[in-house]
Structures are given as C-alpha cells and as structure tokens.
Symmetry: C2
Subunit: 337 residues, 2 copies
Amino acid sequence: MATIHQVAALAEVSVATVSRALQQPERVSDKTRARVLAAVKQTGYKPNLMAVKFRSGKSRNLVVLVPTVANLFFARVITGMQQSAHDKGYSLLLCNTMANEAMEQSYARMVHTSQADGLIQLRAFNPFTGLEMAADQPLPMVNACEVLDRIRCPTVLLDNKAAAYAMTEHLLQLGHRRIAMIKGPPRSPLTRDRVAGYKEALAEAGVDFDESLLSPGNFSLASGQKAAAGLMALPEPPTAIFCENDEMAIGALQQLKQLGLRVPQDVSVAGFDDIAFAAYSDPPLTTIAQPAEEFGSTAVSLLIDLIEGRLGKAPKVILPFDLIERASTGPAPGHLT
Amino acid sequence: MATIHQVAALAEVSVATVSRALQQPERVSDKTRARVLAAVKQTGYKPNLMAVKFRSGKSRNLVVLVPTVANLFFARVITGMQQSAHDKGYSLLLCNTMANEAMEQSYARMVHTSQADGLIQLRAFNPFTGLEMAADQPLPMVNACEVLDRIRCPTVLLDNKAAAYAMTEHLLQLGHRRIAMIKGPPRSPLTRDRVAGYKEALAEAGVDFDESLLSPGNFSLASGQKAAAGLMALPEPPTAIFCENDEMAIGALQQLKQLGLRVPQDVSVAGFDDIAFAAYSDPPLTTIAQPAEEFGSTAVSLLIDLIEGRLGKAPKVILPFDLIERASTGPAPGHLT
DNA sequence: AAGAAAAATGTAATGGATTACATTTTGCAC
DNA sequence: GTGCAAAATGTAATCCATTACATTTTTCTT
C-alpha cells in the first residue's frame, strides 16, 4: 500500500503539501496540486483511514446492539439506521446480542477503547454497567424502542401506553369485553406500558380487569401460538386477543385455526408493529404501525448530535403510531354494531 | 482518557513495561506487575485500540454487504456471521445495500482505506469493480448465497440446481404436470440455477417446458401475490406453484385464497428458505430449508482464513439443503396417489 | 566472590496522516 | 529594484501502543 510519503517523494513535495492538496486544495498552487494528483494516481494512493481516525481520536463508528436481527421490526430499524449513518459519514458496527448482557457489555467496551464513538441500544439494559466510567460524563449512547427510564441518555420511543390504549379501545368499541393480551417478557418496559394502556382503556369502559387474560410471550411465533392455546382453554375464553407484536399474533392465528375457530367471527386478533407479513396473514392483521425506519434514523441522528456536542439535555423523542384496521378484528360474537 | 504514559508515570516504570505487564505478564516481575495493575486500575486505563489497530495494520473489521436486512433469510445469515466473527475477535461493519451498486462500492472502499480487512458480499456483484486494485492480489472477499462465477474468491453456496430439481420432482410425484415457477430477478445466478434444476426435472419426467409458467418476481410478498394472479389467469393455469422464496409463496397463498382456491386441493404451493413464517402460514408451507446461519458463519470463517493467509486456492463450499414437506403441497387435482 | 547467563526494565523507533509553526517564494506597490 | 504582505511550501511534533535493541539487575555456577 502506498503511503503519503511515497506520493510526496514522487511529486517532489513534502508530505504536508500532499495532505493539503487532498484536504484543502485551495491552499496549494495549481501546478503543485496537479503534480500531487498525478502522483496519487500513479501510486494508487488511498489514505489509511485507520491512521486518520487514530490521530483525530474519532472513529466515526457506531455500535448498534440489536436483540435479534431476525425480527422484522428490528430489521426495519436497522435499515433506517444504516441510511442515516451512511449519509452522515458514519459506519455501523452491528451486534446481534440475543439479549445476552455479557455480549452487550463486550461490545459496549468498544466505545471505551476508542473503536466506536457511541452506541445505540434497542433494549432496556444499560450495557455500560460494570464498565466503570467517568460518572460525570454523559454516556455516548441512545436508547431506542424499548427504553429504560433509569438511563440518562437521549431516547426514541413510541407512546406505547397510548398505542395499547387505542387498540384496546378499538376492540371495546367492537363490543369485546373479554380481551386478552399476549405480552412480552414480564419485566420489559414495553410490556409494562402497554399493559398500562390496556388497563386504562378497560377501566374507562367499566370493564373489570382479569389477570388470567394476561398471557406471557417472548415475541416469537411459537410463543404466540402457545399463549393462544392457553387462553382459549380458559373456562371463560376471550373473544379478542391483543398481541404485543405481529409474530405472536400470527402464531395465535394458527392456533385458533387449529382449534377450528374463525377469525374474526369467533375471536378477534390484533398485533403490533405492522411488519410486512401482517398484511399477508389470513386474515390480514389489524395492528399498530410503528415508524420503524424512523426509529433507526432518529436514533442515529441523536447519537451523532450527542457525539459531536450539538445536544443539550438528553431529549426524549416520541414517534407517532397508527392503528391499521384489517380483517382480523371484528364485532364480538353476538354484538350488534 | 488515560494513556499508557500516565499509567507508566504513576507506576514509575517505562511504557514498555506497562505494555508488557498487560500483554505478556510473565515477562514482568510480580512486584512490577502488581504496581502496573494498580496504576491501571487507578487511572481507569483502557488501551486505545484504534492505536493498536493502526500500528498493527489490522483492523479486525469485516464489511458485510447485505441486499436487505429486512429479509428473514439474510437476517439469519447475519446472525451466523455475527456469532462467528465475535468468537474470532472480529467485528462486522454492516451495510444494507438495497442492491445499490454505488453503495456497495462505497463500502468496499473501506477495505482499501484499511478500515476493514475484508468483505462479504451476499449478492452477485463485485463491489471492487472500478476501484483499481493490485490485480495480482486475491480480493479479500467471500461471496456467499448468491454467487457470481466471474469473481475469483472463496464462495459459499447451496446447490440451487439440485434443490430446485428436488422440489420439482416432489411436485411431479404428486402428479402435477403444470408446475409454475415464480422466479427471482431474471439475471440472478440463483434464478438461473433454480430454473435449470426445474427444467431438468421436467425433462426427465417427460413434461414439456412451458415458458408461460415462468413468472418473474423480486422476492417480496407483493411480487409473489402479483405473479400468482398472473399465473392463475392463464388459459391453462398451473396446479402447482414453486416460488423461489417463502415470502413470494406466502404472497401467492393470499392471492389464491382471494381467488377462492384451496391450497393444496386446487393448487399446491412450495417455497424456498424455510423462514420462521413458513411453518405458520395457512397452510404451512412446503419448502427447501437452507442452513442460513451456517452460510454466515462459514463465510466469516473463510474470510478470516483468507485474510490471515491460511487459505490456498479459493474454496467453494456447498452447503446442504433439506426439503421440508408441509401441508401446502398435495396431490394434483384428479390424481390418485 | 567473580563471572556468566538469565531476567527485568528502559530507550527510542515505528506506523501514516495532520497541522502548528517556520521558512521560502511570489506578487505587488511605489 | 526594494520592501512588505500574502501565498506556498517545508519541518517536525503529535496521536498511542508496541517492540527491537540496549542496558541494568538478579540469579546461579563454580
């Protein structure tokens, strides 16, 4: 690999001149610039960006911690991140963490070792815990999608409570009174907020909350299927199932079909996220659309602003949701609309 | 950020001793090592890996070019890559290329500028084209999944022809004679190989090839739906549709349902990839399972071997497939098994 | 206890680009 | 043509860790 010294030697100028000819062309005479460019071409010189980054102390790399890439919602978030990062001259170091804290911490260390300038975490866990830090410094981190209140850093999130409230209300208006919820992991803030919205809507409609209608899941197809089986085996089964993501809703759909139940005539099903498959399930899924790509691009923008010192107090960005009505929700059995 | 000099000063030793105390502890006396470690702890010293990488000339970063992360097959491939790379001390720089050549070339440049040691391309395009290179040097690149014959580099692929042959044979054995194929992009080697396998199976069974049964798609749900509509509108519609991926198959399923056709009684549908949703469609999809994670981990292993000089001639790894029979394929109408 | 070998530690070069500061060249006014 | 300001270019320090080579200290042998 050619270095700047070889270019300088060939062009018969100093390395400083070569550097200037490339970085600030106007600071160099036309004649010299031409000589330098010719030498660059002849040697095939490409600046060693590792050296540049090392010297500048800026890596222009961002670590991204994703619980699972194999989740279409996150896949869209990553797409948004990539776009935004590329536009701003940053690269993404991706880590598929499988929600493994050790793995997350291992990647967070890249920030301390100057391999990355900042980190985006899509899960409610502070990957810097344990890595003793200058406690006064703000963490070079953005928390998006699933947000941990405790971390003091910029966040990007949906008003999950309001979204769950909206969906529950939609089901209530269709006459449903026994509305089940297939939740995410119990300790997730996502679950907490959505359950809160669900409860609030029930309360306002004067419907008693029934703990047995809350079934745990883990966002996978299989967990949705299993949870649906459990719910329909209740002495008084629900007439509607609100799932915390579309995968679980699609799992539930299959279970209902196996039980010989029709959706939405016998049971309504709703999802969350509006992944591409939601429109192609049978029946197509009523769901909450999230601006996934925007989550990604916003998180990246915030992080870069933070890193480059353009951010004051840690902002909290709330993105809008949209209730998409499709065919999987309908009037409760026996309910006249 | 503390540097090795501050640690050295605090421990009252030279920087060389600090470096050795950390890298080769046995080369330093117990007493000194203890002093150094105490100083490291007190200062919170973390080596600047950017400096290490710069000096060593190895970035330990790998660029990964993915057409779309929002494709569950690729998501699984990435998962495999991440695992393998992390195990070997490498990091992944992810680029969601949207099959945009300029974007691919822009990321390929990271290899030339020493920001990455190598690159994995999941598409049939050489991202180094145009970036004039030392022509004698082997490209530090691995081509996986969709492989371009022209590139002389290690490859990881499925025997797509054999897989398509197997699926076509499966359909033929069920008595189907008019078997349609929803293809990928026309110029893709994937498409070429799978069509070849399809044709070969037909030929061996003595079934005439009918060009009109080949419908183009782009691997999306929508394209599968559209293609299915076109196929069923033929004067002599197919009794089976073999789709080049599961997304298109699921799109086709929806279209058939809208047309009032039953699967598999009226039309059989088969997919390719065995994504998680394949088992949850209605009916569950017969498909070709690919070891997606293994594609990723193998590609990473090969690339690292290549980079570290442990590879002789560019190997060509062929991974096995598996035909998964589910409920979406059945006997052709009127056929007695 | 002297001397040699081994162990421990230190000094300084190295990697490649940028840039503060120093020096030379050019351009222009009078 | 002299003198001065501006432009162009050069010299060398810098970023941080590693490591070849040099030097000092310790250990062991006889």
